[in-house]
Symmetry: C2
Subunit: 277 residues, 2 copies
């Protein structure tokens, strides 16, 4: 049975990149004024700022800092580049700690000059290497499976099954999974793998948007919830049946929406959140 | 162990759409002059022509007419549109018969206003409805799983597992599967499902191209074999280990290559076929 509609905004989180034209101070002010309760911070939004102060500012606006986006990109053919990725992930963990969030989303990476299997092995090695840092900072790491159209350069982890495999293999209390409907909606194994993820107590984050028809850009043409074909209510129902009670995070990359008035876009997101998620 | 490189062109087939700027007569002449032995005909290439005469012309050039592209698009919410799709597939079977080819490739369709499960049910019903026509024309139907980025409108069958499920459910000697590396290369279940398809004796067609990084268009930015990240030799080895000995069909949609000199493009394809497939 499908979950009931969301009648308030107590679980609504928005990613700063969703309203990219706003800087983080504008985003915080506008999210808060519209009743949004959570914010996920993209690292570019912190550029040039004191991270601790920014975290405090967000909380002063009544926002929970749900996660930091993003770490990852562990898969590189070159050892030097793999080491650089590890260093960057350590910086991300430090930033998450300063910001006062308990979660980093990992886009795990893929290198088109090697096999997906090799990239996955490097991802596992990379995550293992930063586990002590995550533990000492008290920051969880969420492996996010990405849509197969990003398998070449962004993520060799392209199904929720593979993300579950990874967390089971790593077997660490500091590693879990982020489920983003845009990446996994097509997967015939989705419901089963959401259940498995929940049983493992690894379901750390839930991201929503929609798949538009037609989609004209591989990266920046996501839709607002309800304007596409993703069965959002059904997937949220599965995620909640698996025990997830956390924030529902709106993550929309869209050249089209970034051109429009962001206040109207935000109101549109809030309406769609209540009617379509 | 990987298969040996292809040392001659006896199994090389090219899809007319690969060299879209050429009409079918130019394509036939140029393919033949360059030693290509097979041609797969896209239906638009037959527009305004006597199909039987065109088939004869292709054979006079020494070309085997490997298949007709494409039937399908069975999944529609509207019954009227589903019936129109059935009618169109019957026309396609008639065209294949006239052309003298024994195979039609099915891009099965998907309707974003309904669930993928419902679309798959309609696909199965649609194929069942045209089976008597296929049988009386002596034309095989190949279900082609498409990349998940086409799940909204082009195909609710997005994994080879689902294509195998479909052929097993239909259980007809007139239905099999087409494996296109562009659509399935990312799939962790690929090797297992190729083996299953071979055991079922359902592996009817094998299409090659490559996945470029970056890919800048969802539809028309395929690469020539070798310029992307698809493990072509590995997949061909699996396909041949599963018993496939048929034509290897080059199917490249590319705004970039369609702008270039098609003779040079064809020579590039032939070189890449020998070194990278």
């Amino acid at each position: 049975m499908d979950a009931a509609p969301l009648t308030d905004l107590s679980r609504l989180c928005i990613h700063t990149i969703t309203t990219k034209p706003w800087n983080i101070e504008e985003a915080a002010k506008n999210y808060s004024a519209n009743g949004v309760k959570g914010i996920t911070v993209w690292r570019d939004a912190l550029s040039g700022r004191n991270i601790r102060n920014t975290g405090n500012l967000l909380r002063q606006h009544g926002l929970t800092v749900v996660s930091l986006c993003r770490g990852g990109f562990f898969a590189r053919k070159s050892l030097t580049e793999r080491q650089a990725a590890i260093d960057d992930n350590r910086r991300a963990i430090g930033e998450a700690f300063e910001l006062g969030t308990k979660l980093i989303i990992l886009v795990c990476g893929s290198d088109p000059s090697q096999s997906l299997e090799e990239s996955r092995k490097q991802i596992r090695d990379g995550i293992e290497e930063i586990l002590p840092d995550a533990e000492s900072a008290g920051v969880l790491l969420a492996v996010e499976p990405l849509h197969p159209m990003y398998a070449d350069t962004r993520s060799a982890i392209i199904t929720l099954a593979q993300a579950n495999d990874m967390t089971e293999a790593l077997d660490s209390p500091w590693v879990g999974v982020a489920v983003d409907v845009y990446h996994v909606w097509w997967d015939p194994g989705l419901e089963k793998e959401i259940t498995r993820c929940g049983k493992n107590r690894k379901l750390l984050a839930f991201h929503v948007s929609d798949w538009k028809s037609p989609t004209i850009d591989l990266l920046n043409d996501r839709g607002i919830m309800g304007e596409g074909c993703i069965p959002l209510r059904k997937i949220r129902s599965s995620v909640e049946a698996a025990g997830f009670t956390g924030f529902i995070e709106v993550e929309i990359f869209s050249n089209e929406y970034w051109k429009q008035d962001q206040s109207a876009f935000l109101r549109n997101i809030i309406t769609s959140y209540k009617t379509c998620v």
